[in-house]
């Protein structure tokens, strides 16, 4: 039987603008998350809003006192707004780890990550996993991180530890190259052969849609999607997204249980 864990907030720092990093100490029984998985987080006792919020796991470690998960999140509404005000010692309920993780193909020579804004969170855990657990050489990993402005570029320090090349870009040019991350990647795309490269992406829908268009199914590319959720375990069917099925039909798949990671070429964009 899996538990709902009560975690102790041991840190909740405002990294930049509306980006926060929350550290939560959890009992040792909390399972090891696979990269791409998420947790449902709820502030103990909070009545409004009352639903849990799905947050990507940014980092995970195990120690004597239990497990520490780090949640990198962006304040997007009232729920995350209240979360941003949590101080050390606050309690949160954590359900997880949940959802499907990224598939890792050891045959691929190059690994390319493409993140937009807060999309850096799950990809950073994946890069760390590939670097530390699978022992991939940093030189085989390239990370493209984009956002509208420098204020939304977070998590660089860890990425630079995991990946040999970290390319930063902003729409307004306030940090790194000027331009959208998909445009910057497109210029480099010919350096990565489709057969030998695995792409992993997370970010706003227009970014993923642009990526789908430019890669056109030629690369192995997995993306993790973001949706509003209620249950987080596949019971309510509230968080669905349209996915192409092998038979050529379309079905609404639950982002929480069937995802959040999907093959990019199977995602149907409206």
């Amino acid at each position: 039987m899996k538990d709902i864990y009560v975690g102790l907030v041991t840190g909740n720092d405002n990294l930049k603008s509306n980006y926060f990093l929350m550290k939560v100490l959890l009992p040792a029984g909390f399972g090891d998350p696979q990269p791409g998985q998420f947790v449902m987080v709820r502030i103990v006792g909070l009545k409004d809003p009352f639903l849990s919020r799905p947050l990507s796991i940014y980092s995970f470690s195990r120690g004597k006192a239990g497990c520490i998960i780090e949640l990198l999140y962006r304040v997007a509404g009232r729920g995350t707004g209240i979360m941003a005000g949590l101080i050390e010692g606050s309690e949160v309920e954590v359900l997880g780890p949940l959802g499907q993780s990224y598939a890792v193909d050891p045959q691929k020579k190059d690994i390319v990550f493409i993140a937009g804004g807060i999309g850096v969170a799950p990809l950073s855990l994946l890069a760390g996993y590939l670097c530390q657990t699978v022992c991939r050489d940093a030189s085989s990993m390239t990370f493209y991180l984009g956002a509208q402005t420098a204020d939304e570029i977070v998590g660089l320090e860890l990425l630079r530890r995991y990946c040999y090349r970290v390319i930063v870009c902003t729409d307004d040019g306030s940090m790194g190259e000027k331009g959208q991350v998909t445009g910057i990647f497109k210029k480099d795309m010919k350096k990565f052969s489709p057969a030998d490269t695995a792409l992993y992406a997370c970010g706003p829908k227009p970014m993923l849609k642009a990526l789908a268009k430019m890669t056109d199914g030629r690369y192995m590319c997995q993306v993790s999607l973001e949706e509003r959720m209620a249950c987080g375990v596949g019971a309510c069917a509230g968080c669905v997204t349209a996915i192409k099925e092998p038979a050529g039909t379309t079905a609404y798949k639950r982002v929480c249980a069937d995802g959040p990671v999907f093959d990019l070429e199977k995602v149907i964009w409206e």
């Binding site: 039987m1 639903l51 249950c231 375990v233 019971a235 309510c236 069917a237 509230g238 349209a242």
Partner: protein, 313 residues
């Protein structure tokens, strides 16, 4: 004897009978909030539940409505899932075998786009081992055909009841919508048509607007409101219906705690359903059962049914 059965024996005071549907306690997980049971089985011991009402089943699989499908509002949430389900055949072959492993009453919630649909789904489920009752959804606010159009008209609701009744030997529960002028009229109509019980309320029709974009938060524009926000409305309707019908009433709408559940029973509900509460706490239903048990102990109540309809007015 299985541990669950032993537990049953020591808990005679919690047992409830709904027109032949035997529940070990009065708490059922509500349709649409608990999947097919399996989704929550890692988190909650299904053997401890009074019953599980599964996601609404239709004759053919249904894709459901386009996303976004949910939006949280103050004290509640809107959903416009639109009865996405695997269809009754796949339910029987793929979902039911899992549920049969548990000592829990399984209520098949069914939905149709026509009278004939309702009858066919009921016929397919009749005599299927592991199905203990039917709950007929004539109250979904999120589908264009069927659903609410049957539940808002006493004649149509009665006709659905008759058609289903003719196809089933199972206890027949009709799930009512609050989106009507007088819910007790519908309740009376389905009672006269042969319903063995009624369950209420389904979600209240509602909507939510994003002021920034001036668009509805739900792709379907409107949805059904559930959660603590609707409890007073639900309680009133359960009380109102319980006065007007002789068949058992199953109460639901915003039940989050044992106290909430007990209030519904005092208002006239013989059993309750727990829905949105499971989303924030997968063990909500079992915690509510524990809380009811404590209440009985503290108030020296021997049988939970002793409190049904004890509202002093």
């Amino acid at each position: 004897m299985s541990p669950a059965r032993k537990n049953n024996k020591s808990e005679a005071g919690m047992r409830v009978d709904i027109a032949g549907l035997k529940l070990k306690n009065p708490v059922i997980t509500a349709s649409g909030t608990f999947g097919y049971g399996q989704e929550y089985a890692d988190y909650i011991d299904l053997n401890l539940l009074g019953g599980i009402s599964v996601k609404g089943l239709s004759l053919k699989p249904r894709a459901g409505n386009p996303p976004p499908r949910i939006m949280e509002t103050t004290g509640g949430m809107l959903n416009s899932v639109g009865l996405q389900n695997v269809g009754v055949d796949a339910f029987i072959t793929e979902k039911l075998p899992f549920l049969r492993k548990f000592d829990v009453a399984v209520i098949a919630n069914i939905y149709g786009e026509s009278y004939a649909d309702y009858a066919s789904v009921a016929a397919k489920l009749d005599g299927v081992p592991g199905v203990h009752a039917l709950e007929v959804n004539v109250s979904c606010p999120n589908v264009k055909k069927g659903g609410l159009s049957f539940g808002a008209d006493p004649k149509a609701a009665a006709e659905v009841t008759r058609r289903v009744k003719a196809q089933t030997t199972l206890p027949l529960i009709i799930k009512l919508t609050p989106n009507v002028t007088d819910i007790s009229l519908i309740a009376r109509a389905v009672e006269q048509a042969g319903a063995d019980a009624v369950s209420l309320i389904n979600t209240l029709a509602g909507m939510s607007v994003d002021l920034k974009t001036r668009t509805p938060h739900l792709k379907n524009i409107t949805g059904g409101l559930s959660g603590p926000a609707i409890k007073p409305v639900a309680l009133k309707m359960v009380w109102q219906v319980a006065q007007k019908v002789k068949i058992p009433v199953i109460g639901m709408g915003g039940i989050m705690t044992a106290e909430d559940a007990l209030e519904f029973m005092v208002a006239g509900a013989r059993a309750v359903q727990v829905g949105t509460a499971s989303f924030i706490n997968p063990c909500a239903a079992t915690e509510i059962i524990d809380g009811m048990r404590n209440y009985m102990k503290q108030n020296s109540i021997k049988k939970i049914t002793d409190i049904v309809g004890t509202l002093k007015v």
